[in-house]
């Protein structure tokens, strides 16, 4: 059994070149948006906008400028499926299309998925969407086909600054912790790891080094499993059914003579 594999993305060295997006699209033969007639977002250099069924990598451009634009900085982050150890999508999928692989990654089998879209609502990160060509839910596979052949995923292979690092989770965590230490020592006190420890959904097999709060990067501060609501919600439904049943029995059992 291979060791758990994943990505560690150091956002401090991302230059927003989008080589990862292009490599992902090329390798996975993902179609262009709107048949190639894409429109500009108009308020950012980010025209990909978000992850979806045909964008499995998305380089976010976070533009932080003061009102008079005298001060500012760009945060860049190549976003992707987090391949959660406890995955919300996998949990809710009713067809068994979403599976955990031998590399501890999460993959949607496109030949099994029937496009019910429950996984889109179940994902805590808004990663999954329908690919209009296949009619099925799709997302990053962490290049399962390449990994099976002993190759590195296309995005991390193409990354020119090693912002995206691929490897065993054990090695990646060590590398990431060293980098946080280095940044802290250099005065970047805001550096920290997002999703590297088990507190967040059992650990994210694609985790990040960030220098601002998660919300600044469009990441949830406290992602949870969908099943947290299963038991209380079922219990309240049963109570509702019981109340309706009792009211019904009373209504039909307490009748006067004229109700015959």
């Amino acid at each position: 059994m291979p060791e758990p594999m994943g990505f560690y993305t150091d956002t401090t060295v991302c230059i927003g070149c989008k080589a990862c997006e292009v490599a992902c699209k090329e390798w996975n033969q993902l179609p262009a948006t709107n048949g190639g007639r894409n429109t500009m977002s108009g308020d950012s250099y980010d025209n990909t906008r978000r992850l979806d069924g045909i964008h499995w990598r998305h380089v976010k451009f976070i533009e932080q400028f003061s009102a008079d634009r005298s001060e500012g900085r760009w945060l860049m982050m190549s976003d992707v499926c987090k391949h959660c150890v406890r995955a919300g999508c996998l949990e809710v999928c009713p067809t068994g299309a979403i599976v955990r692989t031998e590399f501890d990654t999460v993959v949607i089998q496109s030949d099994v998925c029937n496009g019910c879209r429950d996984c889109i609502a179940g994902c805590p990160f808004g990663v999954i969407d329908i690919n209009p060509v296949s009619g099925t839910a799709q997302k990053c596979t962490l290049c399962y086909d390449r990994m099976r052949a002993g190759l590195e995923p296309a995005c991390s292979k193409a990354c020119p600054t090693d912002s995206i690092n691929f490897g065993t989770i054990r090695d990646l965590k060590q590398m990431a912790e060293r980098r946080v230490g280095q940044l802290q020592a250099a005065g970047e006190r805001r550096a920290y790891l997002y999703g590297a420890d088990e507190k967040m959904l059992g650990g994210l097999n694609s985790f990040y080094l960030l220098v601002d709060k998660p919300e600044a990067y469009g990441l949830p501060p406290d992602p949870k499993m969908p099943s947290r609501n299963l038991n209380p919600s079922s219990l309240w439904s049963a109570i509702g059914a019981l109340l309706v049943g009792v009211l019904g029995i009373i209504s039909f059992r307490t009748r006067g003579r004229d109700d015959a």
Partner: protein, 295 residues
Amino acid sequence: MPSTFFTEPPHWRWLIVFYFFLGGIAGGCYFLAALIDLFGRASDRPLARLGYRIAFPAVVVCGILLIVDLGRPERFWHMLLQSETWRPMFKSYSPMSFGAWGLLVFSFFAFLSFVATLGPDDRGRARARLRPPSLLGTIVAILGGLSGFFLASYTGVLLAVTNRPIWADTTLLGLVFVVSSASTSIALLLLLGSRRVFLIGGLRALQRFDIAVLVLELLSLIALVASLGSLARVWLNEWGALLAVGVVGLGIIVPLLLHLRARAPTAVVAKVAAVLVLVGGFLLRVVIVLSSESI
């Protein structure tokens, strides 16, 4: 901002809204029919028959709506069978998986009871044994009624077991849906049964039941909004206005007042009340589904 606001909508739109409404009607009408058969009087049997006759066609339409809504409708059976091994596909902790089986089980009982209502209500005939008071009919009615409750409520649990705003921020949607399913089904039976004056006794019982359920629905909706806490401010827009005016005002409070004023369940005001309850129940699904979809 809560973590549910960092997710993407699943594009569950009008087909799902109609399914939620019709699923509530199917489950609710079956439950009412079973309740009338089990606890009503012999003179109420035509009213129960009406419920069974609504439930089965409604659940057939539900199945069609769900299949059409899939990205790959021809693979609808993947919900029930594993496509490679042909073994049953069932995940007890996935409400959609549980729901697909629940829909199938309910359809089975709804079909049996539908068959029992074909032809005249002659208890001597073999098919009539599928309805109470026979032992087999009683078992069918109890199991069908329970699965009807399931069909009416699991959709609320399904929405809660996600990570979407509003849906996953409360655990009361199943409760609200099952109560609303009862109120809309009672309204439909009142409306369709009111042409037959000989059913007046059963209709009066239904009207009393409707008043009680509408009060329960109002309390459930207040509890739902309260359970959202400060998040309820996401409804300070056109969706909130629709919820307040369409669902609570026109769909609950006005029908309650009309029912209290109506001298008989066959009176025009009672029929108007029933229509308003149906409209309110539909708008409830519209608000719950589409207000989260729009975030």
